[in-house]
């Protein structure tokens, strides 16, 4: 008798195989699955359950045909859920200012809605949100659902969850997208739980299986070291939060407008056990603006010292750019944390990103690899940063950066 074998290096410890095994032949040890050979009956149930193909049977292994995105999508939707139609984007706002991720999601939502042949709708919650409602139409919404109520003035989980759940239960969208911001991740977790549906966190890529109408949601996990594609095949709506500055903002058509679908909240302030006291803005937030910079000049450990950053600053001034940094440079104390780019810093998407003396660790790359053009300067020809660079120069940045300053200045003066 044979039994299932395990490629231990592929096992991620998700336990999906353990659960499907009818013979209790699989168990977890130190986060990795192990098999009890005597109990395994080679029923093969565990093979498709494994997302990483870590399980195999010797000799008789078969490979099925898979669609282009590499995932077999099977759906078994109850009829009442199959009626859910349309793509929704939650437009997040604070004091009447929308968060840019909401418009990025409108662009992404439009692509998905077109593939599915359904409408794209925006949801606007707040107090006095007329301007945002109009902007939502301008960014491509075909419908805008609005709940305008003083109770929704400042974000609090309960009233926003109440409002969103009410809208979803009434109008039944098949997909609901929110920004992976402090508001979006708080709200989405609560809404998905009250709707008893699936939620995928912090996605960096969305696609859709048109035939099955299932969203393919891709997100980083394990601190950005791996990517996972997640499906919510049999529940509606399919919900995701999406990381800011990963998708591009669509064209804004100033001439567009429409009639919103207005609903009432129906929730009294007395019922809410959380009181808003005040918002205290960060002192430095507006000084360093990596979010809106067209050009970012970033330095890493290779900069070497405080003075090294003064040279980078000069280049930034010549180009009208903002200064960025790797964590190593921040930890060395050469530059403030507000400038840090990467997993534990800012995610940026400028037109040009200069990476000077930065090795290209994955935690740095996740924060800048969506830049339009990346220019890498590093004295190590094998540095990982070159694998994401549009243009790379191998050399000493202390010679190259001054040369960049000189030549850009000359060019400007011409």
């Amino acid at each position: 008798m044979g039994y299932v074998h395990i490629k231990k290096e592929k096992c991620i410890g998700c336990e999906q195989c353990v659960v499907v095994c009818p013979f209790e032949a699989l168990f977890m040890k130190d986060g990795i699955v192990e098999v009890i050979p005597d109990k395994c009956k080679e029923c093969r149930k565990c093979l498709p359950a494994c997302p990483t193909e870590a399980l195999y049977l010797e000799r008789r292994e078969r490979r099925g045909q898979r669609p282009e995105h590499g995932i077999d999508v099977t759906v078994d939707l109850p009829p009442e859920l199959a009626r859910y139609k349309g793509v929704w984007v939650m437009v997040e706002q604070q004091d009447g200012t929308p968060h840019s991720v909401s418009w990025e999601l409108m662009g992404e939502g439009l692509k998905i809605s077109q593939k599915l042949g359904v409408e794209l709708s925006a949801v606007v919650l707040g107090e006095n949100v007329d301007g945002i409602r109009r902007e939502a139409f301008q960014y491509g919404a075909q419908n805008v659902y609005v709940i305008d109520d003083p109770v929704l003035k400042d974000y609090r989980t309960y009233p926003y969850t109440f409002a969103m759940t009410k809208l979803v239960n009434k109008h039944k969208p098949e997909i609901l997208l929110m920004g992976a911001t402090s508001l979006g991740r708080d709200l989405a977790g609560a809404v998905a739980t009250s709707l008893k549906t699936g939620l995928t966190a912090d996605c960096t890529k969305l696609d859709v299986d048109e035939a099955a109408r299932v969203l393919l949601q891709t997100r980083p996990a394990f601190g950005g070291n791996i990517m996972a594609t997640i499906l919510c095949a049999n529940h509606r709506p399919q919900m995701s939060t999406v990381r800011p500055r990963v998708m591009s903002r669509p064209y804004k058509d100033e001439s567009r407008d429409g009639t919103p679908i207005v609903e009432q909240l129906g929730l009294a302030e007395e019922k809410i056990r959380t009181k808003f006291i005040e918002f205290i803005p960060d002192a430095v937030a507006h000084v360093v603006n990596l979010d809106d910079a067209d050009i970012i000049v970033a330095g890493g450990r290779g900069v070497g010292c405080d003075e090294g950053f003064s040279v980078l600053k000069e280049l930034a001034e010549v180009l009208g750019a903002e200064l960025g940094a790797s964590r190593a440079a921040v930890e060395a104390g050469w530059i403030d944390y507000e400038h840090q780019v990467g997993q534990t810093g800012k995610t940026v998407r400028p037109k040009i990103y200069f990476a000077c003396g930065i090795s290209g660790a994955i935690q740095h790359l996740v924060g800048m690899q969506n830049s339009d053009v990346i220019i890498a300067i590093n004295n190590d020809p094998n540095a990982a940063i070159f694998s994401v660079a549009t243009y790379g120069i191998v050399g000493d940045m202390h010679k190259i950066v001054p040369e960049l300053i000189k030549q850009f200045k000359d060019k400007k003066n011409k």
Partner: protein, 269 residues
């Protein structure tokens, strides 16, 4: 004040990598730790106990080895530790995980009323930050995520004044408890283990609860209770390799000139 803290045992993910050659997850030999954010949740609960009296109960859901996570927090002086462990829990997504933990909190509450549930901001392996909001919603408790300051507790009115961190600042809130909060590392500094507590921890036995102990239904747990499924795992995508501009070492001026030419040619600058 009776606080229940939810902690998760996680691999020390800073050391988990995908082998670029074989495209597989290199996880063997990676040590297990208590999710770092959860240590700060435990510390917050201990501080509240120091100040207002009461009790700290810590729960974790996981395989039998997760008892080590409970041992770790026992060294900090928590009162009660409970391991939620059952085959039926395996494969749970965040919706199912929040169900299982909620069932346990309800049972704890029935024995000894719970004032506060604390979670970490997120687990460093799953990284979803969804379990805390899930538990709060199921328990119908007010939720505050990303807590960075606990300013004061009014035990008469049963309210907590605190601040949550948002993108460009902080929001101050006053919340009635029982409530649930998820905390950031900046909230506090985790205390050191004391010698007496370390000795206690060496001989301790955690309570272990299975699905029947918490009255959990099969349809809400594991794969059946999980709307989401991880279907594919891969290395982060790398951008297409671009163009290397030569002569950077011996003739930096020429290399820079060529770079600027290309940028102008493509109208980048």
């Amino acid at each position: 004040m009776h606080s229940v803290v939810c902690i998760k045992q996680v691999p020390d993910t800073t050391e988990v990598r995908i082998d670029p050659k074989t495209n597989t997850l290199m996880r063997e030999g990676v040590p297990s730790i208590v999710n770092p954010f959860d240590m700060h949740a435990v510390e917050a609960a201990l501080k509240l106990r120091d100040e207002y009296g009461g009790k700290v109960t810590v729960i974790t859901m996981g395989p039998p080895q997760a008892v080590e996570a409970l041992r770790r927090v026992k060294t900090l002086g928590v009162d009660r530790t409970i391991l939620l462990s059952d085959r039926a829990f395996a494969g749970s997504d965040t919706l199912a995980t929040s169900y299982i933990i909620t069932q346990a909190v309800k049972k704890i509450d029935s024995e000894d009323a719970v004032d506060l549930v604390l979670c970490g901001k997120q687990a460093i392996d799953g990284d979803t930050a969804q379990v805390g909001p899930g538990i709060a919603t199921r328990l119908n408790m007010p939720l505050v995520t990303y807590v960075i300051d606990i300013d004061s507790v009014d035990t008469e009115k049963k309210t907590i004044t605190l601040k949550r961190s948002v993108e460009n600042g902080r929001t101050a809130l006053c919340v009635e408890y029982p409530m649930l909060m998820t905390v950031l590392k900046e909230l506090n500094e985790v205390r050191y283990a004391s010698l007496p507590n370390m000795i206690l921890a060496t001989n301790f036995k955690a309570e272990v609860w299975n699905k029947d102990d918490i009255g959990a239904e099969m349809k809400n747990m594991g794969l059946d209770g999980s709307p989401t499924a991880v279907r594919k795992i891969f290395s982060p995508p790398v951008r297409e390799c671009g163009e290397m501009i030569p002569h950077g070492i011996e003739q930096p001026d020429v290399a820079v000139h060529n770079l600027i030419e290309k940028l102008s040619h493509n109208k980048t600058i």
